[in-house]
């Protein structure tokens, strides 16, 4: 702490010597934004992060899931009965768009196909199935589905049961007709309680509407985190004496205006990426959308500001480029798992629910779902946005910490620069 004063004095001298004190805040900000633009232009990685990487990433991730609805999933049929009934049931499975029955002559080859993930389920029609059915015994149809691939397995399990159940109902109907039940009564006898299951808000269970938005939001969050972290880290590596247009490169000098300049520059760029995601999904692909896009843009903006306050906090605490990046990575990489889309939030353990609140993306995704699915309006979205209060509480902390910690980094950097200015800078920096 004792060595802080001479450096601060030196900084004051530099400031006093080079900067007319009459410079207005707006002019300073514009100069700082210009400086950010110049830095951006000379950094190919940052340019990539705001241009082709998001474009490529968004389109590739969408393309991956572009099939949307799982169709024609291979299912092994082991027909040991070879009767009209077993063939009828196989045709039932064939008529279902989700299943693609493939005949296997014996069980062992079907099992090995399932173990190699060539088929996702096995249906076994037992020997004498039809005879047992006609003679009043109760034959068993065995179905095994691959639950290691949970999504596929669950889907197949319900679809196979649906198809086979429908086929068996048909058989039972014939039996009733043979017994002399009037035709009008048969259907009611068979299934007195019919059920109509509706998938609310995503009528055809489309995976693009379900999975792609959170995946892309997670990607977008990573990109905004990296852009801001890189931009902040750059300030650590600038030679402290180097100055242009009256702007001092020392970290402590105009720290908050510099941060503001970064926010002013990168917010529109990142919002462009965010609105590209929305435009691609809800305008070009025309996924169902109950609310208004403008509300989602507001939600995105707030999320972006939250991401940046978090990155700024980590930067102020760590103050070392490699550590900032690795800490931000550790924090943001699992964001997708914590969003609560694939696995419901209220079924997570308490610790996970708390951790989830640290991620801006999990706050955003709630607004996203309520706008897209439920058509939420201003008041309810505004209510959801208030859940970001924790990030606002972060700001005074950042301010206090920046007052406390940044000067020590500056002096440490100066010492390094003095001791071996020739080697340290190129090795540490670009």
């Amino acid at each position: 702490m004792t060595e802080r004063t001479p450096h601060a004095n030196a900084a004051d001298k530099i400031k006093g010597g080079t900067q007319p004190s009459s410079i207005s805040f707006m002019a300073l900000l514009i100069a700082l934004v210009r400086r950010e633009l110049r830095a951006l232009w000379h950094d190919p990685w940052q340019l990539a992060l705001i241009s082709y990487i998001p474009l490529l990433g968004i389109l590739c991730l969408w393309w991956l899931f572009s099939a949307g609805l799982p169709r024609q999933l291979p299912v092994a049929i082991v027909d040991q009965d070879h009767s009209q009934l077993s063939r009828m049931l196989t045709r039932q499975l064939k008529a279902n768009p989700v299943t693609d029955p493939q005949s296997f002559t014996d069980l062992s080859s079907a099992i090995s196909a399932m173990q190699q993930a060539k088929v996702y389920a096995i249906v076994v029609f037992p020997y004498d199935m039809k005879k047992d059915l006609l003679t009043g015994h109760k034959p068993t149809i065995d179905v095994r589905y691959n639950s290691q691939f949970l999504l596929v397995g669950k889907l197949l399990s319900s679809q196979i049961q649906l198809s086979l159940g429908d086929g068996l109902l048909h058989v039972a109907g014939l039996k009733q007709l043979a017994n002399g039940t009037p035709k009008s009564q048969v259907a009611v006898n068979l299934s007195p309680v019919k059920s109509q299951t509706t998938a609310l808000f995503n009528r055809n269970n489309n995976y693009i509407g379900f999975l792609v938005p959170p995946v892309l939001v997670a990607l977008w969050q990573l990109l905004s985190m990296l852009v801001m972290a890189n931009s902040l880290n750059r300030e650590l590596h600038l030679a402290p004496t180097n100055q242009n247009n009256g702007i001092v490169n020392t970290l402590t000098e105009h720290f908050w205006p510099k941060v503001l300049a970064k926010v002013v520059l990168f917010t529109p760029i990142l919002m462009l990426q965010g609105s590209f995601i929305l435009a691609w999904l809800y305008l070009y692909l025309a996924l169902p959308m109950a609310g208004s896009l403008a509300l989602l843009l507001v939600a995105q903006l707030v999320m972006l500001l939250a991401v940046w306050s978090l990155v700024l906090f980590i930067f102020v605490v760590m103050r070392d480029s490699a550590r900032v990046i690795s800490f931000c990575t550790a924090l943001f990489a699992p964001a997708f798992a914590f969003m609560g889309i694939t696995f419901p939030t209220h079924d997570m353990p308490q610790l996970a629910q708390w951790w989830r609140l640290i991620m801006p993306s999990s706050h955003y995704i709630e607004s996203h779902v309520s706008v897209v699915s439920y058509g939420a309006a201003w008041p309810s979205v505004a209510g959801q946005l208030s859940s970001y209060w924790g990030f606002i509480c972060l700001l005074p902390f950042i301010y206090l910490l920046s007052r406390q910690l940044l000067p020590s980094t500056v002096s440490a950097n100066n010492v390094v620069a003095v001791v071996d200015s020739g080697v340290a800078l190129p090795a540490k920096g670009q």
Binding site: A117, G153, Q161, P192, A427
Partner: protein, 383 residues
């Protein structure tokens, strides 16, 4: 410098570099706890359901009790109309709704068919499937009971009636992940991916930090350097992999079917190929903060293209072909087949050979890359 001395030097360089040490030791430990954390409860249960009972009969009340008794559903209340129920869903107080139509009991007793309506919030697939499963089984149960009463009333003998109702038995059983749990589904693939990414980041940072400075890496031949580096990382990852595939799989209830020997044999080319790929990739970077960023951005695509979340059959062919060059992709699929689904060694053999092939390719690329870096540094020094 012989190979063992070189390996020791490498180990020292890895451990004394804070960024690498934190990524490797901290990252591997931290992620082993953090990633599966949301899924620890395995199965979504007790999803809130709101009921619109327009019938108010004994049978409708029984149906509601049956629905509530299902482990997947918790009935939180009754409202008078569908619009009100919808409001409950929109405010996230409920995730599904059940509509019992007017005249439900009377129609059934008169021998007319009735239709029950179920709705689930399909913005969340797992919630929707839990609600649908719970309600369908409760509804079927109620239907069967009514049928049974009807048949008994018509004078069918009880045994015959039972027989008529369930003329065929559908025995549908999940295979490989019998509990349908979420961690046995996510953990095996995800943890291999974490090993893959951290290993790539570790080798990436180490290389990127060295290429611009003189050091021990110039004093040995590229082949020696590569062998030493791979050996050093293999030694560290021997422990990490044992921790993940041994202890963590056990801890997170992953079903395990292969023997220790086969799993080790399977993971050997995976780790070798990944380490070689990491060194090859590191020769492209001279900024130490870049490898982490690049690998962070591609980890989600690798996870989804590896084929256990979204079936490979539905992923566009070019993406599948392109992803075959990433060691994690064949490794994850092969590991699932071998260890979780109990496939024979012969059937995963092609993927195993593919991993060895990738090792050979990346080994060659890494040598070329290191040679280039040696030349570039020599030129820079001459200038």
């Amino acid at each position: 410098m012989n190979i063992w001395r070189l390996m020791l030097t490498e180990l020292k360089a890895i451990i004394s570099d804070k960024a690498i040490a934190v990524t490797l030791f901290g990252g591997v430990l931290f992620y082993s706890i953090l990633y599966p954390l949301p899924y620890l409860n395995q199965v979504p249960t007790e999803q809130q359901l709101i009921v619109v009972d327009l019938d108010h009969s004994s049978l409708s009340r029984q149906l509601i009790r049956h629905a509530d008794a299902s482990a997947k559903i918790q009935v939180i209340g009754q409202v008078g109309s569908i619009t009100e129920a919808k409001r409950f869903i929109e405010t996230r107080k409920a995730h599904g709704l059940l509509v019992i139509p007017e005249g439900f009991r009377r129609d059934l007793m008169l021998g007319k068919g009735v239709t029950l309506s179920y709705g689930g919030d399909a913005s969340y697939f797992l919630i929707y499937s839990a609600v649908a499963e719970g309600l369908v089984s409760a509804g079927m149960d109620a239907g069967k009971q009514v049928q049974l009463i009807g048949m008994l009333a018509q004078g069918t003998n009880p045994k015959q009636a039972e027989q008529n109702l369930n003329s065929m038995h559908l025995n549908s059983v999940p295979a490989f992940n019998p509990s349908l749990g979420y961690t046995p589904y996510v953990v095996p693939g995800l943890f291999l991916l974490i090993l893959h990414q951290t290993l790539l980041i570790g080798t990436g940072i180490l290389g990127a930090g060295q290429w611009r400075q003189k050091g021990y890496w110039q004093q040995v031949s590229p082949v020696q350097l590569l062998c030493g580096r791979i050996l050093a990382f293999m030694l560290i990852y021997l422990f990490f992999t044992s921790f993940y595939v041994g202890y963590c799989y056990h801890w997170y209830h992953v079903s395990i079917q292969a023997s220790l020997g086969t799993v080790a044999l399977w993971l050997l080319p995976f780790l070798l190929a990944t380490a070689a790929a990491g060194v090859a990739m590191s020769t492209l970077f001279t900024r130490r903060d870049l490898p982490t960023q690049v690998l962070l951005l591609i980890s989600m695509p690798i996870l989804f293209v590896s084929g256990f979340v979204w079936p490979i059959a539905l992923i566009p062919e070019p993406l599948v072909l392109g992803s075959q060059f990433i060691p994690a992709v064949p490794a994850i699929m092969g590991m699932l087949e071998l260890n979780q689904m109990g496939a024979s060694w012969a059937s995963v053999m092609p993927k195993w050979l593919q991993l060895w092939g990738l090792f050979a390719v990346f080994f060659g690329l890494a040598i070329l890359g290191i040679k280039r870096r040696v030349r570039l540094l020599a030129e820079a020094n001459q200038l």
